[in-house]
Symmetry: C2
Subunit: 418 residues, 2 copies
């Protein structure tokens, strides 16, 4: 894409009320626009990142047999009354029509997915079932000050699994631990993200979170680096340490962001709706459930928080809006011609390029925009780079490295096309 | 996909309160689930249709330079007060947090897209700009009785164009008429869909709707079949007939569904936010706007209404959840083996197949499910079809035709792979 055609521009400053680093950088880069506290719109660059995250998650959920659906945001009050959450959930938004009839704006979808399943599954032969969606959620956060990390409106992947027995559930739950590791590794934060034991609420001993280490995190975790296992501060006590065979001396305290979680729901939501099955002897049992969440907006914000440097964002290749940021510096005929040729060749080879073809913008400004926007590779065509035409004519530099080098168009293409 | 693994099943009856044909068939087929009046969730088969419609629309919007964004549902009250629609729009849902602060739930996005643009465009060189999204909308419909045709929560493509002059706007507007025709043709209802002159509100003489002829339509149009042009009943008068050079005798009355509309917004939304540009003389002018909508859920419902027969849905190839519905009848070893072979071969060739591999389901039930679900081609492997093994062994029949024929696997593959 030509940057001259992109309607967004970089900005020197984020809105004064924006205190989080992730939102500040994403707003300054034109990835998102802040509508109000905790509510952001995705602009073209941000939507490209978002779609790549979405595709990684979708691929991994499909691999474990997840069937994708798209459930509604508006949810019947009766369903929420059945589970006790109409009055029991503080952050539930309620909306009324002109007749005064109220509905919930879904912060999560147990109250919807269970009644859906009840229409279709009843025999043990129908199980296991795994259903997921990637959809926007609403939560009444009174202090939404962490940018994309905690929104009033945000986008989440929520998956629900349904099982006829504990063993089948546990097998799937263990598989999901691996799948989540794969997702975070593919999204570029695997090396900072740890399976973390957290409190399990009423039903199970622990729940499992995936926590990404970064100073902006709202959670405190204790990490045993040797074993790659962490504890949320809320469960740090001698009993737990004993059970998990961890020693307190080896634990290091970190701030971290919860990028995903997996829950054993037992029959908490299946029982109120009587979602049950008959076994091979004709006996009826309540279905067991698990749920598995990843906030996509939060994941985007976490990547920014965890990887950015003082010059701007650093996108991992897997979720970068473009693989290459091609900069044309100066307006010499020769530079223009060569830059256009590089742009066309990369496009033709299927490489995603953002082409900074803007006229009247200084080299310094283009360099600092490239650093802020954070594409994995910067490729520069300038009068200077063309002086090295014998050795290639294009100066490339990884966003994560200080020094660049001169390559030819063929050498540049070879990085992407095998 | 194996039908035995699909968690949805067909149903004999839709909910008693569902009076529309489109929702009745979509619910019975397991494409959607009704949450409440005017609110539906998409189940796996429905989501597949939806994604195909989405891709057609996205491709066509990208072709005219549309830049995709994803704007928030929650919208600041101040923005709606600025345009006078906070109190002036009857179907606007408002939602309050616990502090009593109210926000709008977006039924449309002029109040969001204009302030976004104001951050980035200011010179005549920044124009034209075309921005679109595919996103869920909320409208307080008190009587939502038309299934997917009129929802309280629904999914829409809304595009907004921004221009520095009337001529530039009109050129784009004319282009969009063609693009919309292409979208509806690609979605399989081009032959039933007509450009229709409707009332233009306060600002322009007419607006333009795209109306699809079908008895379930809520609108009445008058069609001049020779010229392929229609009038909405609301503008049928002698003055309009004269201006459009139409004669009343040639017009035929039809019921129709508005599947798309395009509007000349002039400065209605740019003026309140002072979205303006400086021309090449340094003078400031207010930006001109157009908007262009297609309801995706409504388009899905319209295809069902317009094309279904008394046996069920008929999906056009371009948006069918699967190209082929492969039915295995009976449980002979030979049938099972051949059906599995056909399924694998089609999958390997990249043909999308729904494989009815269910055991213990009668041939009659499988045939009536195939008719209800409406895939373009049915392929049957049975003891009977295998008797014709010398002539191929697979009985294929188009959903729109009465008679089938026997083909070989190679002949079946040749339909899809060139």
């Amino acid at each position: 894409m030509r940057q001259s055609k992109l309607f967004t521009k970089t900005r020197k400053e984020a809105p004064a009320d924006e205190v989080s680093k992730n939102a500040e950088l994403l707003i300054r880069g034109g990835f998102v626009h802040k509508e109000m506290s905790g509510v952001y719109s995705y602009l073209p660059l941000g939507l490209r990142v978002f779609k790549k995250i979405e595709n990684i998650i979708r691929e991994e959920m499909n691999k474990v047999g997840g069937q994708e659906v798209l459930m509604s945001s508006m949810q019947p009050k009766e369903n929420w009354e059945k589970t006790g959450r109409w009055t029991g959930m503080d952050d539930l938004y309620k909306v009324a029509d002109s007749s005064g009839r109220e509905v919930a704006l879904g912060p999560t979808h147990e109250e919807i997915v269970v009644p859906i399943l009840k229409n279709y599954v009843s025999s043990h032969k129908d199980f296991p079932v795994v259903v997921y969606q990637i959809q926007n959620k609403f939560r009444m956060e009174l202090r939404a000050k962490s940018g994309m990390l905690r929104g009033r409106e945000f986008i989440m992947k929520d998956m629900y699994s349904f099982h006829t027995g504990q063993e089948d559930f546990e097998k799937f739950y263990e598989k999901m631990k691996e799948v989540y590791k794969t997702v975070f590794t593919r999204a570029g934060i695997g090396h900072l993200t740890y399976l973390t034991f957290a409190s399990g609420g009423t039903f199970s001993k622990y729940s499992h979170e995936f926590q990404t280490i970064t100073p902006a995190g709202e959670d405190t975790i204790y990490l045993d680096e040797e074993n790659g296992v962490a504890l949320n501060k809320e469960v740090l006590n001698d009993e737990v340490l004993g059970q998990l065979n961890l020693s307190k001396e080896k634990l290091v305290e970190y701030k971290a962001i919860e990028v995903g979680n997996i829950f054993d729901l037992k029959t908490k939501y299946s029982a109120p709706f009587d979602l049950s099955f008959t076994d091979d002897k004709g006996e009826k049992h309540v279905v067991l459930m698990g749920c598995y969440g990843i906030g996509l907006s939060r994941l985007m914000g976490t990547v920014v928080e965890a990887l950015a440097d003082d010059k701007g964002i650093i996108w991992p290749e897997s979720i970068a809006p473009f693989a290459v940021h091609l900069l044309m510096l100066g307006e010499d005929e020769a530079v223009l011609k060569e830059a256009e040729k590089v742009y066309e060749s990369l496009n033709k080879a299927g490489v995603e390029v953002l082409f900074d073809d803007r006229a009247g913008v200084s080299a310094g400004e283009k360099f600092s925009d490239a650093d802020l926007l954070g594409m994995p590779l910067r490729a520069v065509v300038s009068a200077r780079s063309l002086k090295d035409l014998s050795s290639g004519g294009i100066e490339i530099k990884k966003r994560t490295e200080e020094k660049g080098k001169i390559v030819s168009l063929d050498e540049l293409l070879k990085i992407y096309v095998r």
